[in-house]
């Protein structure tokens, strides 16, 4: 089986891992209450989705 010939240096490892980044989540604003919400999700603030109340909030 093919195996690595040389151990990667710490520098190489860090260079590779420099590109592992967390992405900021996208969000949309709710057409009903203007609060930010996740796109294609029921608004957690007012419970509206697609122009009607989908979930009761409090």
């Amino acid at each position: 089986m093919a195996v690595p010939k040389r151990r990667k240096t710490g520098s190489k490892m860090r260079m590779r891992r420099a590109h592992w980044k967390a992405k900021a989540p996208t969000y949309a604003s709710c057409p009903q209450c203007r609060q930010p919400k996740m796109p294609h999700r029921v608004c957690p603030n007012c419970g509206h989705y697609a122009g009607r109340t989908a979930v009761e909030t409090e």
């Binding site: 604003s29 209450c33 203007r34 609060q35 996740m38 294609h40 999700r41 029921v42 957690p44 603030n45 989705y49 697609a50 122009g51 009607r52 989908a54 979930v55």
Partner: protein, 230 residues
């Protein structure tokens, strides 16, 4: 060779998957709307809709086929006599999945799956004009400043309320911590006195360890008493 089902299994094995789907279908027909994970909702949709299609045919053969999946006769009765007539005019698409975001705890994406009812509004399909977009953006800017006319729960207010609750909780926690540490200290002194008592029992009479409390003296006295009797 049999073709495997598309997609991963829910849970563990085929039997588990079958049971889970039929349980989910029972809950859906019973409550009309259930909350579950997105993956389960998506797996349930074709399963439940096929059962509804059978229920719409409504004859004995189809009823027996549904009964082989759903064993609860009351639910099957409701499915055939209540739910199926509602969908007489609808060709498929009997259920709707609404995504409601990640679950607290493990962050699993959750969804509501519900039976579509006739009174529901259709999905809004408005086409935005350039003029409308300007107005919308202006509205958004105003909303960012202060939405006065709408009863909007501001995040800041929520955060402060939460912070207060957390602070009260902290206070309680601190009190508990003190009680705990007291108990711990007592346990430690007790343990120390026991060990010192043993030492004396083995190595004849020695001066007792410095700084002993009244609690520690009691076992000492008993051990020295034993020494005298020997």
């Amino acid at each position: 060779m049999p073709q495997p089902k598309k997609g991963p299994r829910l849970g563990s094995n085929p039997a588990h998957q079958k049971l889970m789907l039929s349980n989910l279908a029972v809950s859906l027909f019973e409550h009309e709307r259930i909350r579950t994970t997105e993956a389960k909702a998506k797996a349930l949709r074709p399963f439940a809709e096929k059962l509804i299609t059978k229920a719409k045919k409504g004859d004995l053969h189809n009823r027996r086929q549904v009964l082989s999946v759903i064993e609860d006769r009351e639910v099957v009765h409701k499915l055939f006599d209540d739910i199926a007539p509602r969908f007489a005019e609808r060709n498929g698409g009997y259920t709707r999945i609404l995504k409601i975001g990640p679950r607290g705890g493990d962050g699993a994406p959750m969804a509501l799956i519900e039976l579509v009812t006739e009174g529901d509004h259709p999905v809004a399909t408005t086409v935005e004009t350039a003029e409308g977009k300007k107005r919308r953006l202006a509205r958004r800017r105003r909303a960012d400043d202060l939405p006065a006319d709408k009863p909007v729960r501001s995040k800041a207010a929520d955060a402060s309320a939460y912070g207060q609750a957390a602070r009260e909780g902290e206070l309680e926690l601190e009190v508990e911590d003190e009680a705990d540490s007291d108990a711990g200290a007592k346990a430690q002194t007790g343990a120390a006195s026991e060990t010192s008592g043993e030492d004396e029992a083995t190595e004849a009479e020695e001066p007792s360890a410095e700084g002993e409390t009244a609690e520690a003296e009691a076992p000492e006295g008993s051990s020295s008493g034993e020494q005298e009797t020997k």
